[in-house]
Symmetry: C2
Subunit: 316 residues, 2 copies
């Protein structure tokens, strides 16, 4: 495949139209550098990092790769201001913002010469991002793991709506773990894809091994989008999930859900490997994931699958 | 496009790998015949028809087209046994069953020489269908309108899972209203697509004009999957929707929901055009639908869009 004219490859200076999702507890320097070294865009996920750890991971990533990489900054966390500052201090040039309004952060980032992309779950926000000066939008469908939108728009529907809403590049996310799904996203009009869950279950991901094993064992109906009255999150079924489900079934408020969630449930599940009382975020594609190979092998596989799926569609 | 070797085209004796979903109040003889005459497979939706009306529509459809057409029989309704009997008496040769176990109906249908396809929402049921002797499965994702599955698997995820689960042809449904979405489904491994909402909003659909206008005006977040504790149904927001949402928010049981639903809400909304107190079933793609052209024009458009999207993917 020749991607030299692809808009996202040109925008980001990468070889493949493939972005690794910035994920809590999964995507430190090791994963981000591996993806960038394989020709995609690696992202350091700052959402689960204290500012000092974030700075350390950025520096480490620079040691591990000469290729472009970026950072993901969820704007809903209290420390996002510190993280933005460090991002600028460290000279990061590619920033993905999420979970908040892009207007809050974009000014200083663009002034510093950054390429800025924002994660959206509906076409109206995609248009706002373009108006605010974002260089691209990442549209994330209902099937995606972790934090999710309220409209429940799936990638199949959301992607064409965002394509129609903006003229900047659109990167499709949610439900993409194979080359056939990558191709499907491109058929929907995506300029590139962002892949999260599939990279969360790779050798270079920082997730706990027990968490990775649990995801590999997951069946087709093992994730659901929960906590819709608080912050919607897609997670695997376990004891914590059942507690959330029980609260929701009796009409609990967002506050009650927030209290159950407390702090550290995600850390317990994904970093510490507490499979029962921890929160196990992952996408619906978990039912299609059954190994945890090194990233280089994974990216080669995705490319092979993409080519084979395109071949099956027949020559234009 | 040359579809002469396509498995679904060969199985059904049609020119295009395109099935029109059998829908309540939308798909009588007029719509089914128009789709079959355009080269796809038209389906008479028996779910909203009394047995005598169903027989009349089957005969009318035969007058309107010489091409193959079929019927859709939701097995959850009390009159499905009568409808099955009429189907055999009238010599129908293509039957789509849904909303129930295919085992209940398949014996007599196969003995009579019918091609039988069943609608599924997860790969485990797809495999059961194949084991039971179904000739193909139709996998319908979370984004689809009307009755839906409990696992909330989207087309992006469900389609590859069903592809891996069975060797019979798989027809993708849910989230398909444009040629780009049709191509995306084929990229995911579909042998064909089933399109519902897009045909519901066409000149030949029997839906009330007010309902069609409401769907054309719908925005991106205007449908949600509701009544999950009863029978999950995707519908448009209106006063009836709000009543359902309110009941659900306070943890109402399936029985309470069934009572609110009563009988005739769908008829009121979709056939009689009561936009506030009727149930307005439609898929998430409603946000992408803004006209109601004749089927022949629509099918030509879908083919043009398919070819253009394939062209954009580049030559293999």
């Amino acid at each position: 495949m020749d991607w030299s004219t692809n808009r996202v490859c040109r925008l980001l200076g990468i070889d493949l139209p493939l972005v690794q999702g910035g994920m809590v507890y999964m995507s430190g320097a090791k994963l981000a550098a591996a993806v960038s070294n394989a020709g995609g865009l690696g992202l350091i996920g700052s959402g689960s990092m204290r500012p000092d750890l974030f700075r350390e991971q950025v520096r480490k990533c620079r040691d591990l790769t000469d290729r472009p990489f970026g950072v993901n900054i969820p704007l809903l966390y209290g420390h996002s201001r510190d993280v933005l500052e460090i991002t600028l201090e460290e000279g990061i040039r590619i920033v993905v913002t999420s979970a908040g309004s892009p207007r809050r952060a974009i000014g200083p980032l663009k002034e510093a010469g950054c390429t800025v992309m924002h994660v959206v779950a509906n076409p109206a926000l995609a248009r706002k991002c373009e108006d605010a000066g974002c260089d691209a939008v990442i549209c994330e469908g209902f099937e995606a793991g972790g934090h999710n939108g309220r409209e429940e728009l799936t990638t199949m529907v959301l992607m064409p709506q965002c394509r129609a809403a903006v003229s900047v590049p659109v990167i499709a996310a949610g439900g993409i773990a194979t080359g056939a799904q990558w191709l499907a996203a491109m058929a929907l009009g995506a300029d590139a894809v962002q892949i999260g869950s599939r990279f969360a279950i790779s050798a270079e991901s920082s997730g706990h091994d027990a968490y990775k094993q649990r995801v590999m064992a997951a069946g087709f109906g093992d994730t659901m989008l929960m906590m819709k009255r608080h912050v919607p999150v897609r997670m695997l079924r376990n004891r914590f999930f059942d507690e959330v489900a029980e609260l929701e079934a009796r009409g609990a408020s967002g506050e009650e859900l927030a209290e159950l969630l407390g702090t550290g449930r995600a850390r317990r599940g994904m970093l510490e490997g507490d499979l029962e009382d921890g929160e196990l975020e992952i996408g619906q594609v978990s039912g299609l994931i059954d190994d945890a190979p090194p990233v280089a092998e994974l990216v080669a596989r995705l490319q092979r699958e993409y080519a084979a799926a395109r071949e099956r569609l027949g020559a234009p």
